[in-house]
Structures are given as C-alpha cells and as structure tokens.
C-alpha cells in the first residue's frame, strides 16, 4: 500500500511536470507578453527593460528553468490586467467554480444513477427505451445552448430564476459559498442544471451498461435462488458491481465539468475561475492562464488518484500493487 502510494505520487509529479513543459512551450509561442506590461507608447528602451525584468531575453531552457523554479515556490507572477498575484485571483474564484461543478455532479448522480439502474434492470421496458432515447438526445445537445434556452424560458420569459450572478454568499470555514443561502441556491440551480446535462446522459448510459452486464451474471440468479427479492438483488448485489465502471467515469466527468464550467460561467456570468480563464484568454493574460492550467492539472491527478483508491474499496478483486 505504501509502495503503491509512493509510486502513484511519482506518477502524479511526472504528469504535472509534463503539463508544465507543455504549458511553458505553448505560452512561449503565443505572442509577446512584453507588450502587455508596458505602456502603449513605450520607447524601445522601456520595452527592452521590461523584457529583461520578465526574463524574456534569456534562452528558452533558461526561461523554463525560471518558470519551473517559480512554480515550485508558488510564484506565478502578477496578472497583467489586474496587477495582482495571478494565484490569488484564481484561488479567490475557485470556490465558485467548485460549487457549481459539485452541484452539477450531484444533480447528475441523483438523476442518472436511478434512471440508469432502472433502464439496465428492465432493458425491454418502454420507460427504459424512453430514458435511453432521452439520454442520447442529452449527449447530442450543445450544453451552452441548453443553458441559453433555460435562461430564455425560465429567466427571461417566466422570470422564475435569475439569469446571472452568484447571489448571496456566506463565509464558512474561510470559504465564501452560495450553498448556505436560499438566494444562493436560487442562483446556482440554472447554471448547475445546464452544466450537469451532458454528464447526466453519460453517467446514465454507463450505469445502464454496467447494470445490464451485471444482471446477466449467474450470481444475480443465484441470489434470487436464495430467496432475495428483486429489489434486494438489484440493490444488494447488482448495484455495487454495476457501480465499478461508474466510479471511473465520475473521475473523468469531474474533469469535463471543470472544463465546460468555463462556458456555463460565461453564459450565466458566474464569477468563477472558468470565466476568468476565458476573460484572460481574450486579454492574453498569461500568468492567469498558467495558474489555471496548473491548478486544473493538479485537481485532475488528485481526482484520478482518489478514483483508483475508491476502486480498490469497491472491488475486492483489485489489490493495489
């Protein structure tokens, strides 16, 4: 177990390092950031000076070395636009993003797993067919378009929900969250539903496939031969086996949700780090983009690690090596 954890830690570090190289290379080929920091009418001397301060006059490997050592020290530089540490900007907006991602994930799980279990346990049922067609439609819809339609119908026409913003927030354990106020929930619902759309469809389909596979197994029949009820068999024996592929997909979907949150946040003017990323891309605010990417990479490797551990808990056949 210990050896496994150490090995995984090294793998995680390797992935993070690879990401840092990629991020650095991409950033080096995208425009000259020096013009972001100097005045519009700066003289050549001023530009050269700024270039030296940013370290842009060095060779590429040297620049990467600076980049890496700065990363190690948590030193990401200041945002060109906000003139504040980029890390602070991102971290400040992280809770808002995690909030809508987690609510979306919860919605997806609550909707998708029971429907998927039903569809998998009753493959020929008309309701199952309806569920499956619906889920196929779900993965065929552009998520941002769904969000717009929700805004138009529920916010603009019916005025049931606010169309943008985060609403009231409360501080809890040092984190500002809107999940503690009714107004906050009122605001988060539409964006979270929008974001959950694709994930719901995918988790539903994986759950169904897993359940169908499991319900065919002999041990399900054997459990029924023991006298267990259909429900008892479904939840006592089927669900846990059927959940094994779902756990993996949850990990992957978390990544997708964070990525697609950029769009949802843009539509709903949700003040999260995704919207900040899009704004920073428009403004070529390099340090902010770098922090965002490195943070997201960190989140992913940690989530993947947790998923692997969950695996070993849910399936005793898998032992950590």
């Amino acid at each position: 177990m210990f050896a496994y954890t150490v090995k995984r830690l090294f793998q995680m570090l390797f992935v993070l390092w690879a990401v840092s190289v990629l991020v650095f290379l991409m950033m080096s080929f995208t425009g000259d950031p020096v013009y972001m920091v100097v005045r519009i009418d700066a003289t050549d001397a001023e530009v050269e000076n700024a270039r030296r301060i940013l370290g842009l006059d060095r060779s590429l490997p040297e620049q990467y070395w600076f980049f890496l050592t700065n990363l190690m020290q948590g030193e990401f530089g200041n945002s060109y636009v906000f003139r504040q540490p980029a890390l602070d900007l991102i971290v400040e907006r992280l809770p808002a993003t995690l909030e809508i991602v987690l609510v979306a994930m919860a919605i997806a799980a609550i909707v998708a797993i029971p429907l998927g279990v039903f569809a998998g346990a009753n493959p020929g049922h008309p309701v199952s067919r309806f569920i499956m067609s619906g889920s196929l439609l779900g993965i065929s819809l552009p998520g941002f378009w769904v969000g717009m339609m929700l805004i138009y119908v529920l916010a603009v026409e019916l005025r049931l929900f606010p169309s943008s913003g985060r609403g009231e927030t409360l501080e809890f354990l040092g984190i500002r969250t809107s999940l503690l106020t009714a107004n906050g929930w009122h605001h988060i619902l539409l964006p979270a539903i929008t974001l959950s759309f694709g994930t719901t469809a995918i988790i539903l389909r994986i759950t169904r496939a897993g359940m169908m596979e499991v319900m065919r197994q002999d041990y399900i029949r054997f459990a029924r031969a023991k006298g267990a009820s259909r429900r008892g068999v479904l939840y006592g024996h089927g669900l846990r086996n059927g959940m094994i592929p779902v756990v993996t997909i949850f990990g992957l979907q978390l990544g997708d949700l964070i990525a697609f949150a950029t769009i949802t946040e843009t539509i709903f003017a949700w003040p999260g780090m995704g919207k900040l990323l899009i704004d920073s891309i428009y403004r070529a605010d390099r340090p902010v983009i770098v922090v965002y990417l490195m943070l997201v990479a960190l989140i992913f490797v940690v989530v993947n690690f947790v998923v692997d551990l969950l695996y070993t808990m849910i399936d005793p056949r898998i032992t950590v090596k």
Binding site: M26, T30, S140, P142, M149, V156, G255, I278, N304
Partner: protein, 291 residues
C-alpha cells in the same frame, strides 16, 4: 455486391431498428442540406451587398411581423436565418469530418507503429496518450485555441490533437493481438517488409472497431467546435459555424429575439443526434460480444 449488401444481416437488422432508421433519415436530410442547401437559398448570407438592414431581426414567417421570404426570420444584419444555418452547418460538418479524418489517420498510424514495434516508441506514444487522456478534450482544445487564435485550420489542428489518442489506443491494442497471430508470423518468415505487413495484413484487421469511434467522434467534434466558437476562440466571424451563430444569437437573447439562437441550436442537435443514433446501432452491430 450491392445486392449482397442489401440482403445482409446488417441491412436486415437495420430495417428492424427504428432508432437506426430515424438516425439515417436525419443524416440524409442533413447531408442534403449541407451539400445542396447553399445552392437552394436565394441569399449568400456573407455577401454584404445582398443584405438589407431594413430586414434585421424579423421574426419567423409564421409570427406577427414575419416576412414569408425569411422562413426562420433574420438576424441583426438582415441575414436570412435559413441561409445562415445552411452555410453554418456546412462549416460545422466540414470541420467535424475533416478533423475526424485527420485524427483517425494520425492516431491509427501511431497506434500501428506503437503496437507493431513496441519498445521505446510504444512507451513514448502511450505515455503521451496517457497524459493527454487525463485531461478533458474540451480543455485541451480550449487551451490550444487560446494559444493559436481563431481560424478553421487552427480548429482542425486542435481537434486532431485532441482526437488522435482514442484511435492510437484502440489500434495499438488490436495490433498487439494481431501480431501474435500466425498469419503475421508467417508473413514475417516469408520475408515481407514490416511496412508491407502492417499495411496489407495488420491494418485491415484492426479497422472495424474504428468505425464506431469515428462516427461518434464527428458528433463530438461538431459539439466541441460549437463550444469553442461560442466562446469566441473557434472559427473567425467571417466563416461562422453554427456555434458562432448561436453566440451571435446569445447577445440578443435577453431582448427576446430567441429565433437567432434557437434554430442554429436545433440544427446542431439534429446533426449530432442523427450521428449518435447511427453510432449506437453500429456499436451493437459491430461488437457481437455486447449482444
């Protein structure tokens, strides 16, 4: 040949599968619109001389104030929405298909190389694939586009960069299986060159699973492209895809001008839904194990 195909199990099953028929119908209609649509609409939506600002933001023809000349209404520049959608769908479909073709070619080649030669080449390709797979496609594409700037060619590069991995992994897996088999061993003993063995013997045997992947990927690519364009980092405004049309519609949605975003969205939905319906059918047909 055609006659045998029509009598095959494949066609037999297709005719008994309403979702598959629906998907095919949708795709046939969409293909018709994409290929012939631009010749059927009266207006070239991007020739400014053909646009009349007096006609801007007309609602669909069946609503009050609608103009029968503009069935689905017009946008802010008096552009016929039908014409805009037909042209936009063409760009979306073209990007989806070309990016799929590129990703499939590159991914398959790398997968064959990795699976056939093994060793360091294999390790390198698969390590890159692993790292890439731990990130969502959308994020990678977004990141690449933010670096490249807008442009159809750049969207293609970004989508290809995102999409090759799945082919490489699948092909490598099946290649590893094929290389073990006797006919490959026999070809080696017979002194055939590696390149010839790969192309003549291995490749045809690893292609089947790719059909489903490729089909579904076109839909995925259309959606990713739409998302990128919606965010303003996809296609340029001179060549608007459906995603960009929706973005333009979004800017006026709060004024109640819903049709400028609803109809392009429905078009994307129809295209991707048709692809996915067909993909589901192919998956069941080509993977007997899952039956």
């Amino acid at each position: 040949m055609a006659a045998t195909f029509l009598k095959s199990q494949f066609v037999f099953n297709w005719r008994r599968n309403p979702p598959a028929i629906l998907g095919t119908l949708i795709l046939v209609v969409c293909t018709g619109l994409v290929v012939f649509g631009p010749f059927l609409v009266r207006q070239n939506p991007y020739d400014l001389t053909q646009l009349n600002l007096m006609d801007s933001f007309l609602p669909p023809a069946w609503l009050d104030g609608g103009n029968p000349a503009y069935l689905l209404g017009t946008d802010g520049q008096g552009r016929d929405l039908v014409a805009a959608i037909v042209h936009g769908a063409r760009i979306s479909a073209l990007i989806g298909l070309s990016a799929m073709a590129l990703a499939c070619t590159i991914g398959t080649t790398l997968g064959l190389i990795a699976g056939f030669y093994g060793g360091r080449v294999d390790a390198l390709i698969m390590r890159v694939a692993d790292v890439q797979l731990s990130f969502p496609s959308m994020l990678i594409a977004l990141f690449l586009m933010s670096a490249f700037g807008t442009g159809i060619d750049k969207v293609l590069i970004a989508l290809t960069a995102v999409g090759w991995v799945v082919y490489a992994r699948t092909v490598r897996g099946s290649t590893l299986g094929e290389v073990q088999k006797e006919y490959v061993q026999a070809a080696r003993v017979a002194g055939l060159s590696n390149a010839r063995i790969i192309v003549k013997h291995v490749l045809p045997n690893v292609l089947t699973p790719l059909i489903v992947i490729a089909t579904v990927q076109v839909g995925t690519f259309i959606l990713i492209e739409a998302s990128l364009s919606f965010l303003g980092v996809g296609v340029p405004i001179t060549q608007p895809s459906l995603g960009l049309l929706i973005k333009n519609g979004f800017d006026v949605l709060f004024s109640g001008l819903w049709w400028t975003s609803v109809f392009p969205g429905l078009m994307i939905m129809a295209m991707v839904f048709g692809i996915n319906l067909l993909g589901d059918f192919l998956r069941d047909e080509l993977n007997p194990r899952l039956k």
